[in-house]
Amino acid sequence: MNYNWDWGVFFKSTGIGDEIYLDWFLAGLGWTIALALSAWIIALLLGSLLGVLRTVPNRWASGIATTYVEIFRNVPLLVQLFLWYFLVPDLLPEPLELWFKQDLNPATSAYLSVVVCLGLFTAARVCEQVRTGIQALPKGQAAAARAMGFTLPQIYRYVLLPQAFRIIIPPLTSEFLNIFKNSAVASLIGLMELLAQTKQTAEFSANLFEAFTLATLIYFVLNMSLMLFMRGVEKKVAVPGLMSVGGK
């Protein structure tokens, strides 16, 4: 194989200014983290709201939430991203549309589209987890709260949600990790996040194996550290007396 291995490539100049390739990776990682965290805020808030709606004793509320989940789960992420990035700006009222297309710099408008897209996409998944968490609680919890005179919002606020969130931390963690991985689609609308920077490095330096290996390592380490962090959170907030506390 006539391939020039060079693991020092990351410290070489890119030929643009005095940047080295490692700077590109760091900038890309920054975008990836920014995308994932902002999208996660939307996903968590909207997902929890929808999850509650799905379990509320009201046909309309649960119908709306169910429809939302089915739509957002059955259309590929990439199609959703294209809809948000190419179609939705055209449907905005004129001043907003001009602002989005002309005043914002391209990175910002792409960033906004990806955040909205990933946030709403993941909200459907978070909704399902929240619903499962609420439904996994013994029926007596809600009944007891009602017997004590709690209103429906109070039942959710003080009894159901605090318990549900604590038992669904493992599946929520995997959704949280997924949002980091899914943010790679941003590279397809020209946002220079980690994957896009990797591709660019591979093309500029011709050291594609090194570039992709580093990207893989970054994703791997990111994934592992987030997982450890969430495991810590899980232990800290575990509901005393349940099987899951402290593993076996």
Binding site: Y3, N74, L77, L177, L188, T198, T216, Y219, N223
Partner: protein, 221 residues
């Protein structure tokens, strides 16, 4: 919105859909086969085998599919040249398929492993008592039972793969999404074609998941 151009474009969209379905069918077949091997490795008593399989699964589950697709697109021709010593042209289709099989195998492995672990130990013991070798036990007793149990999960994962095939857009392969995009651009109605593509994906995966749910009800004992 003017959807009148879509009927005329249907033949080329259908071609894209065929490519999508090819990726899906071969991806699922290869992924389940490799995933089953990985699952048996993970459950093997030899620590080397189970650690190797565990590493494989953790590795692929912590990186984005899009990264795998892009990497393989660049790397497969290189690797093949390293093996055969000459330029072997491989299309984007092959490298994408390899990426899907290797990536999905990690997910299928976990499903198959859970399936095998859900079979009561007595089945294995009984098969061994009848004088079957390990391979026979697995092939004739454990795996058929396990596969029946996990069919719904495997199908659900396949629906996810069906949606994920749209990511081949990144390497320019003309799958359903990409052919809809390019048709729409040529005709000058990108929005209509995009909406149509989204609708088709939705109808297909939604009805597939309804069928899976029904199957799940029938299979539960």
């Amino acid at each position: 919105m003017d959807f009148s151009a879509i009927p005329a474009a249907l033949p080329s969209l259908l071609e894209g859909m065929l490519l999508t379905l090819q990726l899906l069918v071969f991806g699922v077949a290869g992924g389940v086969a490799l995933g089953t091997v990985l699952a048996m490795m993970r459950l093997a008593h030899a620590p080397l085998l189970s650690n190797l399989a565990g590493l494989y699964v953790n590795y692929f589950r912590s990186i984005p599919l899009l990264l795998v697709i892009t990497w393989f697109y660049f790397a497969v021709p290189f690797i093949l040249r390293g093996i055969t010593g000459e330029d072997t042209p491989v299309g984007a289709f092959t490298s994408c398929l390899v990426a899907f099989v290797m990536f999905e195998a990690a997910y299928f492995c976990e499903i198959v492993r859970a399936g095998i672990q859900s079979i009561p130990k007595g089945q294995m013991a009984a098969a061994q008592a009848l004088g079957m070798t390990y391979g026979q036990c697995m092939r004739l007793v454990i795996l058929p039972l396990a596969f029946r149990k996990m069919t719904p999960l495997l199908l659900q994962q396949s629906i996810i793969l069906f949606q994920d095939t749209s990511l081949v857009y990144s390497v320019g392969l003309m799958d359903f999404l990409n052919s809809a995009r390019s048709r729409g651009d040529i005709i000058g109605q990108p929005h209509e074609f995009l909406i149509f593509a989204g609708l088709v994906y939705f109808v297909l995966s939604f009805s597939a998941s309804l069928l899976v749910k029904r199957l799940q009800k029938r299979l539960t004992v």
